[in-house]
Amino acid sequence: MEFNFNIEGGNFSHAGAASSEVKKVLKQLNVDVSLIKRIVVALYEAEVNVVAHAYEGMMKVVLSSDFIEVTITDRGPGIPDISLAMKEGYSTASPQVREMGFGAGMGLPNIKKNCDKLEIVSKVNEGTTVKMTTFFS
């Protein structure tokens, strides 16, 4: 099963909408509740990263009997140093974004904690792809 959701860069009033849709689908499919809770944290953080940093993005959800794989691809500035971006507390968010309570440098660490496998590929001035996989067993 595969679902796709658009993510609008810069539009904070819609941040979380795609994650919310995925959550609804997973609930309808009777995916284990504790698993949904983990996945949702990772989804939301990845979605907010697109909203806060990129111009536009897409969330692709692939669901099989063994795993859920979510790929978030954006067109945006990219991440020059992924290991630095993974460090808790490191953020390049703007002051306005920080004032809203985002940009604490917890997004990527939160994603890592809440999925089983995380792959990030990024090209500066082109965009970033974040692929997270969570296994059902």
Partner: protein, 111 residues
């Protein structure tokens, strides 16, 4: 204890989401950093914050918190209140600051 009983005991103002007043409260969480709440708050907790913009409702809904308490007489923005009504997650307001309301909440439901 449910949200309505908490509202009465702590003299909170109900700003929105009245249909969620029957939610049972399982604890509390305090943070103004949204990723911190996203990563650490648990279902059924009351979330105390000073943030009033719409994104708090995305978090509250995804985490299924019981209610949000805004401190220092803050009120939700219009679009925040609308989502609170749609999602049936109450937003409550107190004139107290975070320290004072947290202490009172802890006395009521902490161990």
């Amino acid at each position: 204890m449910n949200v309505k009983e908490l509202t009465d005991k702590l003299e909170l103002t109900i700003c929105s989401g009245e249909q969620g007043l029957t939610h049972e409260i399982k604890g509390g969480y305090i943070s103004d950093l949204l990723s911190d709440v996203m990563g650490n708050a648990k279902e059924g907790q009351v979330w105390i914050t000073l943030q009033t913009h719409k994104n708090i409702m995305a978090i509250a809904s995804l985490k299924e918190v019981a209610a949000i308490i805004l401190v220092k007489s803050r009120k939700p923005e219009q679009d925040t209140a609308e989502v609170s009504n749609d999602e049936q997650i109450p937003i409550l307001s107190t004139p107290l600051d975070t320290f004072e309301i947290a202490g009172r909440l802890y006395k009521l439901i902490g161990d």
